[in-house]
């Protein structure tokens, strides 16, 4: 178990280094930070001083090492745009994104798995066919379009739900939450549905496919031949085996949710990291972009690790060595 975790963590290191290199390259070379910081009026002496201040005259790897050292401590400098420490900015925005992603993931997972199981078990019922058709439309709609349509219907047309922002938030230490107020919860609905919908349809279709695959296996047939009831066969045997690949997929989807949050947050003006990132992109705010990248990579690597561990927990075959290849 321990060795397994260690090996996975070690595999994550090169990924993090690669991402760090990319964001450092951005940080150091994109859009000439010196020019950005100095503005329009400067002397050569001022320029040289700033270059040496920032350590830009040092060899590449020295700069890179220092960047990594700083990044490891969460130190990414000050946002060019907002003149505040990047870590602080991201810390403020992270709860918004994480709460949104959490709700979207719950919607996608719960509804996706339930609908996937249903359509897998009763694949000829009219409801299954309906769900499948609707889900195809779901994957064919770009998320930004869904968001715009939802705003149109539920905010402008029906006036039920807010069209932007987080509503009232409650501060719990450094964490701001929208879960504790009615307006906060209402504000969460449209964005998390928008964000979850695409993943929901994907998860549903994947669960269905896995379910069909598993239902065709010999051990399901054998379980039936042993006289086990439908419930035991479907949920005890089929679903549990379906879960193995679904965990991977769900992990991937969670990553997708955080990435697609960029789009959703833009449409709903949701004050999260994605919106911060897009605003930083348009303002060429390199420190924020670099930090966001590193953070997102960290999130993904963590998700991957958790997925591996879950896998390990669900699939006993993995517990001896790594003889069996993962999933499909």
């Amino acid at each position: 178990m321990f060795a397994f975790i260690v090996s996975r963590v070690l595999q994550a290191v090169p990924v993090m280094l690669a991402v760090a290199l990319i964001s450092f390259a951005m940080f150091a070379y994109v859009g000439d930070p010196v020019a950005i910081m100095l503005g329009q009026d400067f002397t050569e002496a001022q320029r040289a001083a700033l270059v040496s201040d920032l350590g830009l005259d040092q060899p590449f790897f020295v700069q890179f090492l220092r960047f990594i050292g700083n990044a490891a401590q969460g130190e990414f400098g000050l946002s060019y745009r907002l003149s505040r420490p990047v870590a602080e900015l991201i810390g403020e925005r992270a709860p918004a994104t994480l709460e949104l992603a959490f709700c979207a993931a719950i919607i996608a997972l719960v509804a996706g798995v339930a609908m996937g199981v249903y359509t897998g078990l009763y694949r000829n019922s009219w409801l299954s066919r309906l769900l499948l058709t609707v889900s195809l439309i779901g994957v064919s709609l770009p998320p930004f379009l869904v968001g715009i349509l939802l705003i149109l219907v539920f905010s402008v047309w029906l006036g039920w739900l807010p069209s932007f922002g987080r509503g009232e938030v409650v501060q719990l230490g450094w964490w701001s939450t929208g879960f504790l107020t009615w307006s906060g919860i209402k504000a969460l609905i449209l964005p998390s549905v928008t964000l979850g919908l695409f993943q929901l349809t994907l998860i549903m279709r994947l669960v269905r496919a896995e379910m069909l695959e598993v239902l065709r296996t010999d051990y399901i047939k054998f379980a039936r031949a042993r006289g086990l009831g439908n419930r035991a066969v479907h949920f005890g045997h089929a679903l549990r085996n379906t879960l193995v690949p679904v965990i991977t997929i769900a992990g991937l989807q969670l990553g997708g949710i955080i990435a697609f949050a960029i789009v959703t947050e833009t449409v709903f003006q949701w004050p999260g990291m994605g919106l911060l990132f897009i605003q930083s992109v348009s303002a060429a705010d390199i420190p924020v972009m670099a930090a966001y990248l590193v953070l997102i990579a960290l999130v993904f690597v963590t998700i991957n690790l958790v997925v591996d561990l879950l896998y390990y927990a669900v699939d006993p075959r993995l517990r001896i060595g790594r003889a069996v290849a993962r999933g499909r």
Binding site: G31, A35, L78, L82, R84, F164, F268, L276, S282, A283
Partner: protein, 531 residues
């Protein structure tokens, strides 16, 4: 489709009903941009000022017609050509309770003069500030400065004690990696004080009942709380207004005005802005960038500039892209600005045939290609205007590609002189022509303020001389000088003027905020809760 439009209107009605609409005297205000600092001397941009001017007072206020009225100074006069004397208002207190006095004026102006300040253009002529006595301050200028009061109307007064205690004696340098207390905290003397500041999310201002101005006639505002939220997406911002989630949108998109006008419970207030949109040419380079013309710069040829001018059907842009929300112009400054002359506000006529002829005459019968640089989130429909013009120029033979980008990279690029022709909009906070001429048309010579936005590299000694005279002259002589400069502007065509922006504001009908030509809402005059 028609259904939801009707439904939208219906919702707007519902939204206007008390349950949703009228929270007592709170105005929820949205605009596309968020102020990027709360430091009063750091960023000279409208998005910062629109919030800070509710919190800080300058020595001199502007009235509803933008004329000068007493602010923290009750009176001012030019005691000598280079010395202005200001009489300070008594009994004024900062939000932290400390009293306002001459030392704060000295401190604030000195602070605005710091290199990290972005307000140099307003104070660059000042040599010295002297506290004469407890209620008098003298400002000594390097040379006679007739329009100093106009400039000082844009310089906010800070507390010396508070700033020094918080290590904020110089403006925050937004370009360097520093965060200061003033980035997020304020201590002004103004009508509102800052209650909550969440960048990009929410800025809440609450009424300062102790403000001196509430005693002054005309400041009849009843707004107790201002909640400002930036909403970048046009559609979302309008949806929020229609659904009653916000009360006031500073910058509704032009194409939605008809919808807003038709929506019950929403009103659109229109008026001109003191901002002129124009195209500026690179007239300095020997060889044009981003063009297929090699070895020469067609824009150095007056005939080419004139051809491109006459190729533009400005009325079509006014009608279609601006939906009537623009004042077509042939000059550099709008009517509200001191020095404006009606006789100089004449455009070269739109004449496509003439444009082609001029191009041929200049040696470009087949035209040439060029890239038009353009911001896409700074001015009203900026990118669309550029595309309109690209189509018009292409028809005249000048194959034009539009490079539209957000304002940050756009400004960074043109500030490197990395452009052939670009679109810019110029506002005149001093309401004086010098501000425009000095920034946009003076030869860049390193002197503070001269040609700092002249990225086309226009340089004409005659123009420079006129600008120098504008700085020192006053009265009729100065008026004549400005007029001569405007004339020269029309002859030289360093720019193609397009129009002055109109700035519609949209608000719920329960809210009344007087429309201002500087695009700044003044909440001291705002009424909420009344139909």
């Amino acid at each position: 489709m028609v259904h939801w439009v009707r439904a939208a209107a219906l919702v707007a009605v519902l939204g206007a009903m008390p349950a949703v609409g009228a929270m007592a005297q709170t105005v929820r205000w949205a605009a596309s941009g968020d102020p990027n600092t709360m430091d009063p001397h750091s960023q000279n941009v409208g998005t910062v000022t629109m919030v800070l001017q509710q919190i800080y007072d300058p020595l001199i206020h502007r009235d509803r017609d933008l004329s000068l009225t007493p602010g923290l100074a009750t009176a001012w006069r030019q005691v000598e050509p280079s010395r202005w004397r200001f009489t300070l208002r008594q009994g004024v207190r900062f939000h932290d309770g400390q009293g306002f006095g001459p030392e704060d004026v000295v401190f604030s102006i000195t602070r605005a003069l710091q290199p990290t300040s972005n307000f140099g253009i307003y104070v660059d002529t000042i040599a010295k500030v002297e506290a004469v006595d407890a209620q008098t301050v003298d400002i000594i200028t390097k040379a006679p400065d007739p329009i100093l009061p106009n400039k000082l109307a844009s310089v906010f007064m800070m507390s010396k004690a508070w700033s020094e205690a918080n290590n904020a004696a110089r403006p925050q340098n937004t370009r360097a990696r520093e965060e200061m207390v003033t980035t997020r905290n304020t201590n002004g003397t103004g009508a509102y004080r800052l209650a909550t500041r969440e960048p990009d999310v929410r800025t809440v201002l609450v009424r300062n009942p102790a403000w001196w101005g509430w005693q002054v006639e005309g400041n009849t505002g009843n707004v107790a709380e201002i909640v400002f939220r930036p909403i970048a997406s046009d559609a979302t911002r309008i949806a929020a207004l229609l659904s009653g989630e916000v009360d006031f949108v500073l910058d509704p998109p032009l194409q939605d005005l008809n919808r807003l006008r038709a929506a019950p419970g929403v009103k659109v207030v229109e008026g001109p802005e003191v901002r002129t949109i124009f195209l500026a040419f690179d007239t300095a380079r020997e060889e044009l960038l981003y063009s297929d013309v090699k070895g020469r710069n067609p824009f150095r040829d007056l005939r080419v500039r004139q051809a491109l001018y006459q190729a533009i059907d400005i009325q079509a842009i006014h009608r279609t892209t601006m939906r009537g929300q623009s004042v077509v112009t042939g000059t550099l400054i709008p009517e509200q600005v001191n020095g404006y002359a009606k006789s100089e506000d004449v455009r070269l006529p739109f004449d496509a045939a003439r444009a082609r002829a001029l191009l041929a005459e200049a040696g470009y019968p087949q035209g040439f290609s060029v890239t038009l640089d353009c911001p896409n989130n700074r001015y009203i429909n900026d990118e669309q205007i550029c595309q309109n013009i690209a189509a018009m120029w292409s028809r005249a033979g000048v194959r034009t590609a539009v490079k539209a980008q957000p304002l940050a990279p756009f400004f960074a690029q043109i500030q490197r002189d990395d452009t052939s022709v670009y679109l810019l909009g110029w506002g005149v906070p001093t309401l004086d022509a010098l501000y425009s001429f000095q920034s946009l048309l003076a030869t860049r010579n390193g002197a503070q303020g001269d040609g700092i936005w002249n990225y086309g590299g226009y340089s004409n000694p005659r123009m420079d001389a006129l600008i120098q005279r504008m700085k020192v002259e006053s009265g009729e002589a100065r008026k004549a000088t400005i007029r001569e400069a405007l004339q020269l502007y029309r002859e030289d065509l360093p720019h193609i003027p397009l129009h002055h922006q109109m700035i519609p504001w949209a608000m719920r009908s329960t809210v009344t905020i007087p429309h201002m030509a500087n695009n700044q809402p003044y909440f001291r005059w705002a009424m909420a809760g009344a139909q």
